[in-house]
Amino acid sequence: MEAVIQKKSEKQGIDEVMPSNEPQDIQVGDKTVGKPFADNPKMAMRNVNVHYGDKQAIFDVNLDIAKNEVIAMIGPSGCGKSTFLRCLNRMNDTIESCRVTGQFILDDQDIYHPKQDIVPLRARVGMVFQKPNPFPKSIYENVAYGPKIHGLASRRVELDEIVEVSLRKAGLWEEVKDRLHSAGTGLSGGQQQRLCIARSIAVSPEVILMDEPCSALDPIATAKIEELIAELKQNFTIAIVTHSMQQAARVSDRTAYFHLGKLIEVNDTKRVFTNPEHDLTEAYITGRFG
């Protein structure tokens, strides 16, 4: 029996849905344990509940994201990580059945305020998706698109500059500088994902949300993106959803563990992976379900 469990935990990095054989004896509890709050939050979420139609996907989540930190969100498949992440820049608005309640504060600003325009919000809170999704346009056009629609550059030179800086920050400049005007979709998967990162940092967001950005990539491309995240941390606040606990351990400062729509534990990453406070967290990171 023991050996089987070990095997499972080795496979943790793979994105697959498994029925959760949740240990019966562990209580979920109502309160998040650990340190969900920060002294100097960039974003603060309170009493967040999300429903898809009649089905509730997120239950009463409270969480702060500190300035310039990388927060990792982990948890079994279907526990609501993506749902929660997409609330942070109101991407869920595009899903008709989705209903979000609770408070979302970005620098003292309520992002779900009826008067809040989502266009500037998404310029401030950017997003990188699970599957690389460059526009079927040139590399240059991909990166320049955001600055163009937001009017960030008034002249061509400025735009060129933004494109170059963003591609450099995304660690892609050297690889593509000679073919800026060839199709972005012609790059390799890892390059495409870095292009998507360059595209989102081109509008100088304050927060970048990443939903399993490496799940479609090979280990080398993954390592590049992880390096990149460590660098981006200097200028951006990053929330990353991942299925790889190793990745969470490598890149994040704090880790949040979700379980069936509830936020179970938030703690410093080191603490979560060495000495988790909650039994469910421990069960998950030791691979007893996933």
Partner: protein, 430 residues
């Protein structure tokens, strides 16, 4: 035990394998049979049409020497355009014929002789003289169109003069024609008239240019209206409209409209555009409006399918950057859906091009000689022209009917090819 059960399994698999192969073969044979059937039908159709119609692209001409004698023409002032226009050119042609056959006498015989030449010959000469007044008083040779009966006779006759279809020609006429043929002044030449004139009661003067232009103007109106309206409706329904009872109702009705017989649209056009808005009958504008109504459902449905096929990841990417709904739609969704929308539109238009019934209802079935010059000139359309000619008893109209069908098919095939080419060309990978 294990071993033997494996053997049993293997045996059973082998047995079932043979059956599976047979089933597979049958399945393939059905498919091949269906395709063969389709191809056979197509081949039969094409051989029939081409067999009947190819001869219409050639037209028999006769070479006659004419003298533009000012006395015969009754022209005393060649600088007066009115005199040139009103001159008696037929007299010149007749004089030339009489000279060629001096022993023909008597009113009846003379009339029979003159009937060999198409009665559009005077028009031919008038055009020549108008273009070059210097020709007055000169003698020169002209290739004249012959009458359709002569044309049919010439075409159906074998080289040694046997077995011509004499139709309405009498014996004397046949002798004259044979003598012209023996003299070598009768010749089959490419039928430019067919492509440069409008309809006519005389088959040898009838052409499809009028019908082509009518179809063209009708289709222009249809494209100009149905594509933008269809795309706008599709974009609204697909991207903006809330999902509720009302939009569902609209959707069902669009699908229903696509199945409505086209003649109903003709009736609708008749009562709305002609009855209520008092537009003229038989004009491409009304035809285009009616065909717009008819093609809109097709275009809306195919455009929506194309919009739906745009991957959500592209929308997510644009939304994630802070693009507004309109920017997402205009910058990303529509360009990606364009090949599909264009294909749908072209197929809809090809349908419209071949449509006859609604045009009959709004009077585009009229006999129109003049080539329409705009969307408000009376006109007919290609399929209607085919319908009209197919009703005429003359042999020459039978071949023209098939020739017109060939022209229509060429247009349809090129439109469909264009649709395929556009789809290949504009299709991008993501």
């Amino acid at each position: 035990m294990n071993k033997s059960s494996q053997n049993v399994t293997l045996e059973k698999v082998n047995q079932s394998l043979a059956r599976r192969y047979r089933a597979e073969k049958r399945f393939r044979a059905y498919g091949i049979g269906a395709i063969l059937f389709g191809i056979t039908c197509l081949v039969v159709l094409f051989t029939d049409i081409i067999g009947k119609g190819h001869s219409a692209f050639f037209q028999t001409h006769v070479y006659l020497e004419v003298t533009m004698d000012s006395d015969t023409l009754y022209i005393d002032d060649p600088t007066d355009p009115q005199q040139i226009a009103g001159a008696d050119y037929l007299a010149v042609v007749r004089a030339s014929l009489s000279e060629r056959f001096p022993d023909v006498s008597g009113r009846r015989d003379k009339r029979a002789l003159y009937a060999l030449i198409s009665n559009g010959a005077d028009f031919e000469l008038r055009k020549k003289l108008e273009a070059d007044p210097q020709l007055l008083g000169k003698t020169f040779g002209v290739w004249f169109l012959v009458d359709d009966d002569v044309d049919t006779y010439f075409k159906s006759r074998s080289d040694d003069g046997e077995g011509g279809f004499d139709g309405r020609l009498n014996e004397k006429q046949i002798t004259w024609v044979e003598s012209l043929i023996n003299e070598g002044v009768m010749e089959s030449r490419f039928n430019t008239t067919f492509f440069t004139s409008g309809d006519s009661r005389e088959p040898e003067q009838a052409g499809i240019k009028g019908a082509i232009m009518g179809s063209l103007f009708t289709l222009l109106v249809t494209i100009a209206l149905s594509f933008p309206i269809g795309v706008a409706a599709a974009v609204y329904l697909e991207e903006y409209a809330p999902r509720n009872r009302f939009t569902e109702f609209i959707e069902i009705n669009i699908n229903n409209l696509a199945a409505v017989p086209s003649i109903i649209f003709g009736l609708l056009g008749l009562s709305i555009f002609i009855g209520f808005f008092e537009m003229h009958r038989s004009i491409p504008l009304v035809g285009g409006l009616v065909l717009t109504l008819m093609t809109l459902p097709t275009i809306i449905i195919s455009s929506r399918a194309a919009l739906k096929a745009v991957p959500p990841s592209i929308r997510d990417a644009a939304y994630g950057l802070g693009a507004s709904k309109m920017q997402v739609v205009v910058h990303h969704v529509i360009p990606l859906a364009m090949p599909g929308m264009l294909t749908g539109a072209i197929i809809g238009l090809a349908q419209a091009l071949g449509e006859t019934a609604p045009l009959l209802m709004i009077g585009m079935v009229a006999f129109v000689v003049d080539i329409p010059g705009g969307i408000t000139d009376p006109a007919t359309a290609l399929p209607v022209q085919i319908f009209l000619w197919s009703d005429s008893p003359e042999r020459a109209f039978v071949e023209r009917t098939s020739a017109a069908i060939m022209v229509l098919l060429v247009f349809l095939i090129s439109m469909n090819t264009l649709a395929i080419w556009l789809r290949k060309r504009l299709e991008r990978r993501w």
